[in-house]
Symmetry: C4
Subunit: 493 residues, 4 copies
């Protein structure tokens, strides 16, 4: 059916919370009903109510997503782009700023480690995008410790071994991969590059690396999985359980249809953390909107609430261990809990029959001073080694070097995930992703050789000296503090 | 009775230590007898002897205080303000400087944490006021450790729990509050804002937060308690015991009359510490006075002695545990000892039947390298857990984040106090106080959710990994050093 | 036989990988067959194919080396230097840059410790040479800890002893030396000074210091050993075992012929580490070559690969403990394994009948976070003290002070090696080497006197307080982590 | 007898090592025989041979010293100062430079702690003098740890005690003092102020503080002790034992004659350390002399050797425990060993019947990484508490705050010494010394009050929490490393 041409004046008339139209790529959509469940928050949409939102939309979403999400009945027609666009332009905001200094990027070949990519990203992403990716909760203690904890483990290299031929392959949930690291799920890869998750997938395909797709990806699962040769690499799907369970069930069916090999549901983000770097950017652009900030509790407050924080609105904060039965019923795929931070929860995951866990603190983005992933890994290994027999343990957060990967594997991890580093490499598109993987592969192989191992079946804690951090692992999982009995104060007062 | 008009010449004639008049808001007062017991020291008054002291007076005191303190018999009359004011102006001093850069304050909505308020305060308060608030004893070791010690405790977040609904309410000395933190008593809030403690009270009222009023408050208890709806929030009163016990008894009666809910008497400030930041400001302005500085021993020396130090003159340095009987007799209110720093003194407080203790080192302002409050809390919990059954334990010093609050509560604190952060928020008046409380409330709730708890009955040490600082708690309260017997040297020499 | 004059055009015609001539000091060489085994990599040679390579050659090699290596049959004739040189000049590269600021060197007498030499070297060496010497693996953790670990041991000085006369002499593999430190083998000393290893030898001769010659030395063993009086000091020879064992055997025979006293074969460099400082310099000059970088795996990649990395091409990555039998057969000289990093490998060295080990992590240049040498020394001393009875233990890496030397000796080392410090002193030629040794000798003697010892038989751990780092030594060489049994996951998936 | 007038030409003729005259304050001296035993080295004298040395002399020595030292027979006459002075001026050197920025000194009243004095000294002393005072051995580890170790002990303040009246008096070797700190012996106080040790004594007299006079003092014992009222304060005398024992015996008799109360002989400086700050200044001025530097071994080398190092030439490096019998015989005064650094040596001091020990590492000036004094104090207290019964223990090095003093006393020290802080205060002459003592007294009293003690009999380790550094004290004084038996290597080689 041919679209009607919608006059500019009519579009502008639908610009309230109760009646909200926007224009994306010349198509007019009635988005009123959808706004409350928008993962990116309501604020960013109301700012474009009755206007053209194409620029803001395309910086985070694939072109096909809006039609898939809203359905044909919300399509109100098209605009006459020749004459109408300028009239529909929203007030300029920081988000619409052209990326800075793109031409100033150094040649890809001069980047030789993951930190180089981060440095380039800081200079070339928009302020908003870099703040969203790089920020973490409050004092940044956990974010920084995620990294630094790795350098407090000494290797114990065993020399004079034949280490000519190296095999770095392994399996994740039974799926063969050529390297023991994967792309951690991250929201909105389009903020880094227009090809977003598609470029990530293509880069991974070349090196046999697995990719986990975020619920909040810029592209649809179908688009991402179709961007590479069938079965060339395993894809997993990260799930935030929706307050509307039917929506989650639909996503899970979608995952199965698209050949996804496992579901990784996030447990450490029932609400999102206070990422101040992100919030400051948001606060700065707050003059453009009547309610620029919305906090974790969804009230219109003035406490800050950046891009990260507003994304959590649809997440079900009541989801608990009892609800795993629902999840099992909703999908036939293997299920992995992402965000385990204690040995106790690892045991619960095992007892609930999960297929894997990702030790993660969300890159230090949610609860500051939550334990660095390496400590949690050691805690589980010390106190509940049986967990490793019953499910696969992955580690995420702070991995920046081949040495980090090998240390996590020696302590029992099956594979490790990287989030931010992949996003930073994506600023160069697919080519950047490939260069980054190649660097990490080289570091991994060099580490294995110099440590005296040639394949991943040989990893073992005996290759590590963890003495500098052993004291950080609780001797017992029971609290060492004595209990305090019931207070006798009330009687007295 | 109508005031007489006092001629300028007569006022100027009363300008010696033995005969000292000052003018405040056009009223002439004979202040000779009062000066020695002035909490702010004698020096600041003699500097204005025979002159108009309105500006210096109003920067720290409420208009009503002087009449209440001196009584009608010291009122000598009024001046003819039209013609006389200029002639009575004291020599200009640093204190009289207009506040700097007030117009440069960033919009309140751009402040998103307690550190932001501190940064603004540093830029906009007078040099003297900021020095008084921010300074601490000598090397600042305790001041800094108060904060940093919190970040050395890792959380142990338990996930997959229903954390949708959060309840942050608790009780302090049986009084209901909506949040487990309170305003610690701080002297002279008027240095931050003309509304001083009144604005603090009004901000607290909105959020159900308790306030403890300092002996050295800018406003009287009656003014502060009357500034909010009756019984809307609990007020407590901080007491420095006066050498003149009758004066303290009068204050305690005043407290009861004004509906105060408890007396918090300070035990860690029998003399005041050497706050060098404060002293340097004082030294700089010393050229205006013949004896600009007076040390802890009240001699006219040249060792420094800032605003903080000179305030201690009236405090009774002989007050000891035996004197608590007097205190019990002087008031029917619950009694809390503020400044406990060892498990032994916590036990003594319990044995003397006190109703609560505040673990505090005065913000690191008195004895440098006194233990960070968090360590004292852990020490009591480890060695004398029964204390928590017999009295309420509060923690003060170093609290800057919602995570800090939860950690203190998990270790057994009933509530925590904040002093400097409230004063810094006060630079924006009542609105600043409200914004600050709102921020702390949001951080607290987010921390609780991400930790897996929904009300304050669930706090427990099992949510903490204190391994990084456990070794700082003495294994035994007996010294681990062997005793050394009597010296045999004297016989020999 | 008189050389033919080779025309410029003919030389230029041989400039491909399959047919590669170069000119060195007016002589034309066919280097096609040799290139693949060039220790410095193929890239640097192909960059000069068909051109004059004299400048690049002489910056790292002695004039005689090329004839000795290639043999007469590869000598194609001479050029007419008067007319031809300019035409054969290669494109200018960073390597060809004149050394910077040579005239700006401070007078030698103003340098008073090893750090002073490093500071001068950083300013006066070519960027490439300084990067090659100073760089280390990835995050530089091991390089920095090598040094800093020494300062975490306190001395326990015993006073009131007669310490007037000091004897610093000892023996290394039975060879008398006057000082307990030696020149560690380092590649290409000519990068620091044209006299390279010859100046090192002459400086050592004056003070009775031993020198270990690198496989990759700028001069031949014959040239170096002939530069001093016969038997004036002991020389040792460092061996990288070649994939072509015959080549290694020839080197070993050469060593015996030249009066070498022991073979130190390197075990910690089967592949070379990722030295990013070095790689960045290489990457910068990559525009001059089609394949500027070659990684550890010898593919033409773009992952970086500096001077250090390209040198490892000929090293046998299959060499293992079983092959020591071959080594014993190939030489009658005492054999020392250089690069031991665990107590277990020290025991293996003992069990394989080696005569000594060098505890070394290659200056932190290979595997980052490999253990600082001091920790490995302590680990062996704690867990396998019998090793010290059966072989000599030397320590290399991080020695910068006389105090460092004494600490290593107190813990059981027979002598210590220094690499970079000698190279940095070499920037002043022989005179610099002598001044540097004199400084270290003075520091050593002063340390001995102030510690209360007068000769090296008195060294003992009782002179050290290692409490600050004792916890870094594993309590047991068995891993403290529980084993994890076989995974039961596969059956389930 | 009237002096002859010596012509300029004749003076200039005596300018060689074998025949060396100098002029001091218009008097001509033959100094040839004395030069080799000059505590300040030979170099500084030869630089003035045949010239007027008054300026250099007076910057470190009292006017009377030269006559006392050389005797009348070395006095050759006087010069005609009117005409001759200019002709005899030595070449200008750094030492002769006028003190910098003296006028820029801040008013004394603005200095409020010991660090302030150091900051002023750094700016106003000559480069040479500040380098001599402030420098310490090599990496400065011990110098800095001396200070920082104190801040790693937490107090355990006991509150609610009557602390109105404070008594800070104690006894040192039976001599009453009003404060438990003393002036540590330091060489050449005239570098700081012309009144040197006289001003120190007068300042001490006012506050009842003891002073220990250095062997290398600028003034004679007689001059210093006569500068105050008889018996107003106790003086002690620090002794470096001379190779020429008769010289030391003469000094000891001199001490008794001048009412000295005890002899503190230095045991930690048999040779002097490598103080690089000091040496760099010396190296810079080396162009003025043929042999500008002389090292610890007294050869003319080029390894550096600053003012500190050259002073050690006359010290007897053979002096050992056996020689204490000589010392006992040489004086009736109490004897204290200064420089004890281990519990073992403390026991030896006790067993040799000494009356006291000073725990000291010479301000970190001799052997770097020798243990901070606080650790040595704790080591003795832990392992040999009986020492404290048999002799008095003093602590020197790193004391900068009243809190430091109280900590040392709580651990068993009878009193503490300060060296550099007194010298820095001396830049303001006697007034500066008094102001400094007053500051330290105030800090001490404030600390005692806030800790809950009122006199020095109450100090006890229970007031300290040493948990942060307890692990630095060896568990046993026996080495924890296993012995290694005799080497079996020699037989094999």
């Amino acid at each position: 059916m041919a679209d009607a041409i919608v006059p500019v004046e009519e579009i502008k008339a639908h610009s309230s919370e109760n009646d909200c139209w926007i224009v994306v790529d010349d198509v007019v959509w009635d988005i009123t009903d959808f706004v409350p469940s928008h993962p990116g928050g309501t604020d960013i949409i109301y700012r474009h109510a009755g206007h053209d939102a194409s620029l803001a939309y395309s910086s985070v979403h694939s072109p096909s997503l809006i039609a898939k999400t809203l359905g044909a009945e919300k399509r109100k027609g098209k605009i006459d782009s020749e004459t109408a666009t300028d009239l529909l332009k929203p007030p300029p905001t920081e988000e619409a700023q052209p990326k800075l200094a793109v031409g100033a990027k150094p040649p890809l070949t001069t980047l030789i480690n993951s930190y180089d990519f981060e440095a380039v990203a800081e200079k070339t992403l928009t302020k908003k995008a870099y703040a969203f990716y790089s920020s973490a909760a409050t004092n940044l203690v956990t974010r920084d410790a995620n990294r630094s904890m790795f350098d407090r483990i000494w290797f114990r290299p065993r020399l004079l071994r034949n280490i000519r031929d190296i095999d770095t392959s392994t399996k994740i949930l039974g799926q063969g991969v050529k390297l023991p690291f994967f792309v951690s799920p991250s929201a909105m890869a389009r903020l880094a590059h227009p090809d977003g998750e598609l470029a990530l997938a293509r880069g991974c395909e070349k090196f046999g690396v697995a990719q986990c797709i975020s619920t909040n990806a810029s592209f649809t699962m179908a688009e991402i999985t179709a961007s590479v040769q069938p079965d060339s690499i395993p894809f997993f799907f990260q799930l935030y359980v929706n307050k509307d369970r039917a929506a989650s069930e639909a996503l899970l069916k979608d995952a199965e249809r698209n050949g996804i090999k496992g579901v990784w549901f996030t447990i450490d983000g029932p609400v999102q953390g206070k990422r101040e770097g992100d919030e400051r950017v948001k606060v700065e652009s707050a003059t453009f909107a009547k309610a620029a900030m919305s906090g974790a509790t969804a009230t219109n407050d003035t406490k800050g609430g950046g891009l990260g924080r507003t994304m959590g609105g649809y997440i079900d904060a009541t989801f608990s261990w009892e609800d795993i039965a629902w999840l099992r019923k909703a999908t036939k795929l293997p299920i992995v809990a992402k965000g385990v931070q204690t040995a106790e929860d690892a045991v619960l995951a095992m007892e609930h029959g999960l297929d894997g866990i990702v030790i993660s603190n969300h890159g230090g983005r949610n609860l500051d001073t939550s334990p660095p992933s390496l400590l949690t890994l050691m805690e589980i290994r010390c106190h509940h080694p049986q967990v490793f027999q019953h499910l696969e343990v992955y580690v995420d957060c702070g991995i920046r070097r081949g040495t980090d990967i090998v240390k996590a594997l020696c302590l029992g991890a099956k594979a490790v995930g990287m989030g931010r580093p992949f996003l930073y490499s994506l600023t160069y598109g697919q080519e950047g992703v490939e260069h980054f993987i190649d660097i990490m592969k080289d570091e991994l192989e060099t580490t294995m050789r110099l440590l005296g191992i040639t394949d991943l079946s040989q990893v073992h804690p005996k290759f590590l000296n963890t003495c500098d951090i052993d004291h950080l692992i609780p001797k017992s999982l029971e609290s060492s503090f004595p209990e305090i009995g019931p207070s006798q104060l009330r009687a007295k007062l």
